[in-house]
Structure formats: structure tokens, C-alpha cells
Amino acid sequence: MLSIKNLHVSVHNTTILQGIDLTIHAGEVHAIMGPNASGKSTLAHVLAGREGYEITAGAVRYAGQDLLGMSPEERAYAGVFLAFQYPVEIPGVNSAYFLRTALNAMRQHRGLKELSARDFLALLKEKMHLVEMDQSC
């Protein structure tokens, strides 16, 4: 499903990743561990397509496609999801609106009808219940 071959990445001419090789098959769960500054986040960001990283060597294939040649949103559509340790705040945009915009961007890409605010709210409540999230706030 995901195959990383000999990946070299540098930031501001400092080499961070030096030849990562990793193959993950569908259905597998992997945890990448290591001390601070060992390049865990760099790997995650490079896979998700964040700017500011220079890929000096190597290749990444995902579901038969060249992952590194895709834009961040194309990778998102293909199923690459990055959970942010510190999600950024966008002033004036509430979480529900953000989530709905993201969901609808995805639905649109898949040729599905956009969810109305009302339908989305119902879905949101259902999922919040599922993960036992407090709905009072």
C-alpha cells in the first residue's frame, strides 16, 4: 500500500532523513518511535506534502501512485490523513464549520452531494456520541 524507498530529506540544507525504507501493507498498523529530533514529524509532514522540505533522494509510492508528485489535497483525497499534534486555530472559523468544509471538499471530490449544515450537525452529533465527547461545549 505504502512503500518508502531510500528517502532523503533536508531542511535549510540540514539533512534530517537519511535513507528511510519502509513498506506498509493494507490493514497493518505501524508506530514510529524515536527520540526527539530523530525525524518522525519530518517523515509525517513529507508524506502529507507540507512545503519547506527538500527531498534529495528516494521515492514514495502510495496505492500505485507517486505520492511525492501529488498536492497535499490530492493526497488527502487519496486517503492520507495527518493528525496534528497541535491543530492550528483559524480565527473566526469554528470547528464545526471547518469540519463541514473539509468533509464537503472530500465529498465533492468523490462525486457525492455536499452535506447541508443541518445534516452535518446530525452526523457530528452521532460521531461525538460514538467517541463519548462532551456535547455541552
Binding site: V11, I16, H30, I32, N36, A37, S38, G39, K40, S41, T42, A44, H45, L47, A48, G49, R50, E51, G52, S71, P72, E73, R75, A76, Y77, F81, L82, A83, F84, Q85, Y86, P87, V88, I90, P91, G92, V93, F98, T101, A102, A105, M106, H109
Partner: protein, 495 residues
């Protein structure tokens, strides 16, 4: 997959947020209509001619002439305002045509059916059908094409309530007493250079009077359009809200694409008597010039409201996306005790646009309150300035002001400037000022894109969030229009 915190999460050069470029102006068409104009240039004869064309009473002509003479003294002493943070080549006031009217105006249309179909087509293109369909939307429209008011819809329906909503010229004929009493009472003819010019040559505009105790049931609206070449537009709007009345008024504007700059110097006067409330919203989308800064409208406008009565309220909401240069400070004179003034503004400058805009809140009455929320967006080489004055007079005890000025920069070639002036002349008033300057961060963009939102949609969402406090002050349908307009004006902004 979970990411751990590492040093990579810090330092970013926001390379994604690039300078804004290329956006086509969609309202740049020219309507091929024969126009009746006065000769180019300005002198007493031109002023008299304009007045004569409108069959004005002698007092009004005298007022115009006083204004003209005052303006010439200013012009001779080169007293055109220089303090604003905008730069432009000197304007040749003798090279402007001060009056242009579609020819059919010779015999004024009595109803919509008589209006030149081409004009109506123009308004359709602008998305403001003058047809009765608008009734459903609850908007009564007065449309100003070049210098004259073309048609006013729903006049009869409003008349049943005693509301007067008509062109300025008509008001001069039909309601001379009201016009004479209030004209120049908020913005005198000698207020400033452009106000004096306007007073001398203003050609038309809207007039509105809401009688005592009446709540205007629909949004009143004026659409301004400059069509003819080399003309200036000088309209004048006067709104009077009598005691215990309420009115919400909307104003929109567009102009064709011309590579020469055109001057728009309007004056708006609002008067609110006891307990009256006026809500004035503007969506200004004059032609901003091309992406190299050629052409575009000089929007030099004086807008002021006077809260004359106690507990009266005036609120200005503006969304400024057009014009090559904007020089505009919708202000409130809070004269009545407990009166309230509000100013909500979004100003966008892209390419080579310049805006110097803000407000003045003059607290005179006791326990007067004012709120200022200003959102400046700069992109491309745009320069955006907030300039505001909050003055608390000695007698304005217990006055209260809150100001918030936020600037958002898109790209690294643009600028945001803030000049707040606060003058407090007593010691029991409270004045607050908050300001922020921010950029769209690469991190915010990446976060959105990682969730499948395209860069352009992400910018548009971030900008809408930034402007939310202002947009929610706009009537619903205009809020949607404003949001779209910002989206369009920023298109192609991110690489």
C-alpha cells in the same frame, strides 16, 4: 499516524502565501448609451448649467456657487488634502466632465417601462434587476447611472407609510423644505476640498425621509454606476430618520474598465432624531485599475452621520474592495445623550490599490457610545491604512468607546498602516483600542489542504473568518455578496 513534537514544527518561511495577482474585474463592461454631457471643465457657468438642467430653486444655486467659490480658493492655495497615506498624480480638475446623463433623460421616464432597455440590461448584468421581483427580496432600489437617478422602485408602497425615497433632484422639487433644512447640516459645503467640489457640482443622489415612528419594512438601496468616459461622479445622499423610526440602507457601486482614472467624490449625510436608528451599508466595488495599477476610480468620499436626538443610533458598515484609491471616513457625531455610533469596515487592497479609510467618532452628548471594528486586508502591492479619530468632548461624561483594528497581510509586497487618534477631554470616559497584524500562516494553509480544502478555498475561508464580525452586520443577502466579492478579488492569490 501521530506526529510527535519536534523542532521542525517551529520556524517556517511561508512560501505558500504568495503575492496576489491576476484577477479580472467582472463589471468592466461599457453600456453603449448616448449621453448628454456638459462641456469639459469647471467654472461658474458649468455650475449654473447643472443647476438649470435640474430646474433648481435659486437658494440651491446660490449654495452651489458659494461652494464653488470656496473650492476655488482651496484649489488656488493648493489645499487639496495631502495628509492621507495615498499617492497619485495631481488631478486636472479642468479635464473632467462634471455632468453626464443618458439622453433619454430629456423626458424623464415615468415608469420602469419607459427606461432605456439597455440601461435595464446593464442593471441586470450587475445583478440588480429593477423588476418587481426585487419586491420579494424586500429591497427598494434607486439606481444612479452616471449623474442621474434612473428609476426608483417601490416608491408607492413606501409612500403608503409616509416614507419618501426618491432621487435627490426629485426631492429638491417635491420636498424643498426638508432638503433645505438638512442639506449641508452634517457636511457643510466648506467641510473639505472634495465636499466643496461635490456641493458645487453634485448632480444627483438619493433622498430618504422616514417619518416619526415608522419602521421601514424593506431595505432601501442605491446602486451607483459610472458609465461615460472622462466623467466624474458626484452624487449626494441625504437620509433623515425622524423620531422613533428605523431604516436600513444599502449602497453598491461599479464602473467600467477604463485606463484613465476617474473621480468619484460623493457626500452622504445622515440625520437621526430621538430614538431613531439608521443602518447604512456599502459594498464598494468601483473599478480598481488593472494589475499594474493603471486606471481605476479615485474614490474620495465624505460620509457623516449626526445622532441629533437622544438614544439615536447610526451604524456604518462598509466592504471596500474596489477603487484605485479610497479616501473615506464614514463618521458619527454623537450629539444626543445616550446616542450610539458604530463603524464596521472591511477594506481590501490588491495589486496597486491604496486605501486610507477609517472613521471619526465625535462624542458630544452624555453617555454616548461608539464601536469601531476595522478589518484591513492587503495583498499584492496593496497599501491599506486605517485612520481613525475618537474624540470625547468635555461635556460627554460617561462616554464609552471600543476600537479594534485588525490587519491581515497576504504576501510580502503589501503594507498595513494604522493611525488611531484618541482625544479624551474628560476624566470619566472609557476608551479602548486594540489592534493586531497577522499573516495567513503556511501552517494554517497546510492544515486546511491536508483536510482536502484547496489553497484558494482555504484562503477564502480564513479571510471570511477574519472579516466575520463585519459581515454579520450586513443584511443577509449582502453578506453573501460581500463574501463572494472578497473571494473573487483574492482569486489567484496563492501559489
Amino acid at each position: 499516524m501521530n506526529t510527535a513534537a519536534t523542532l521542525i514544527d517551529q520556524e517556517y518561511t511561508p512560501s505558500t502565501v504568495e503575492a496576489l495577482v491576476t484577477q479580472e474585474y467582472k463589471w468592466g463592461f461599457v453600456t453603449d448609451i448616448e449621453a448628454e454631457t456638459v462641456p469639459r471643465g469647471l467654472n461658474e457657468d458649468i455650475v449654473c448649467r447643472i443647476s438649470a438642467k435640474k430646474h433648481e430653486p435659486a437658494w440651491l444655486l446660490q449654495w452651489r456657487l458659494k461652494a464653488y467659490r470656496y473650492w476655488t480658493t482651496l484649489e488656488k492655495s493648493a489645499a487639496e488634502p495631502q495628509w492621507a497615506n495615498v499617492h497619485y498624480a495631481p488631478i486636472d480638475y479642468q479635464d473632467i466632465i462634471y455632468y453626464a446623463a443618458p439622453k433619454t433623460q430629456q423626458d424623464r421616464p415615468q415608469s420602469l417601462d419607459e427606461v432605456d432597455p439597455k440601461l435595464l440590461e446593464t442593471y441586470e448584468k450587475l445583478g440588480i434587476p429593477l423588476s418587481e421581483q426585487k419586491l420579494l427580496a424586500g429591497v427598494a432600489v434607486d439606481a444612479i447611472f452616471d449623474s442621474v437617478s434612473v428609476a426608483t422602485t417601490f416608491k408607492e408602497k413606501l409612500a403608503e407609510l409616509g416614507i419618501i425615497f426618491c432621487s435627490f433632484s426629485e426631492a429638491v422639487q417635491e420636498h424643498p423644505d426638508l432638503v433645505r433644512e438638512y442639506l449641508g447640516s452634517v457636511v457643510p459645503y466648506n467641510d473639505n476640498f472634495f465636499a466643496a467640489l461635490n456641493a458645487a457640482v453634485f448632480s444627483d443622489g438619493s433622498f430618504c425621509y422616514i417619518p416619526k415612528g415608522v419602521r421601514c419594512p424593506m431595505e432601501l438601496s442605491t446602486y451607483f454606476r459610472i458609465n461615460a468616459k472622462d466623467t466624474g461622479q458626484f452624487e449626494r445622499t441625504l437620509i433623515i430618520a425622524d423620531a422613533d423610526s428605523y431604516v436600513s440602507y444599502l449602497e453598491g457601486c461599479t464602473a467600467p474598465m477604463r485606463d484613465k482614472n476617474q473621480l468619484h467624490a460623493a457626500v452622504v449625510e445622515l440625520i437621526a432624531l430621538d430614538n431613531a436608528q439608521i443602518k447604512y451599508s456599502t459594498i464598494q466595488n468601483w473599478y480598481p485599475g488593472d494589475k499594474n495599477g493603471k486606471g481605476g476610480i479615485y474614490n474620495f468620499v465624505t460620509k457623516r452621520g449626526k445622532c441629533l436626538g437622544k438614544h439615536s443610533q447610526i451604524s456604518w458598515t462598509q466592504v471596500e474592495t474596489g477603487s484605485a484609491i479610497t479616501w473615506k471616513y464614514p463618521s458619527c457625531i454623537l450629539q444626543g445623550d445616550h446616542s450610539i455610533g458604530k463603524f464596521y469596515s472591511v477594506a481590501l487592497t490588491n495589486n496597486y490599490q491604496q486605501a486610507d479609510t477609517g472613521t471619526k467618532m465625535i462624542h458630544i452628548g452624555k453617555h454616548t457610545k461608539s464601536t469601531i471594528i476595522s478589518k484591513g486586508l492587503s495583498a499584492g502591492h496593496g497599501q491599506n491604512t486605517y485612520r481613525g479619530l475618537v474624540r470625547i468632548q468635555k461635556g460627554a461624561t460617561g462616554a464609552r468607546n471600543y476600537s479594534q483594528c485588525d490587519s491581515l497581510l497576504l504576501g510580502d509586497q503589501c503594507g498595513a498602516h494604522t493611525f488611531p487618534y484618541l482625544e479624551v477631554r474628560n476624566n470619566d470616559s472609557v476608551v479602548e483600542h486594540e489592534a493586531t497584524t497577522s499573516k495567513i500562516s503556511e501552517e494554517q494553509l497546510f492544515y486546511c489542504r491536508q483536510r482536502g480544502i484547496s489553497a484558494e478555498d482555504a484562503v477564502s475561508m480564513i479571510v471570511s473568518g477574519f472579516c466575520k464580525e463585519v459581515f454579520r452586520e450586513l443584511p443577509m443577502e449582502f453578506a453573501v455578496e460581500a463574501q463572494k466579492l472578497l473571494g473573487v478579488s483574492l482569486e489567484g492569490s496563492v501559489g
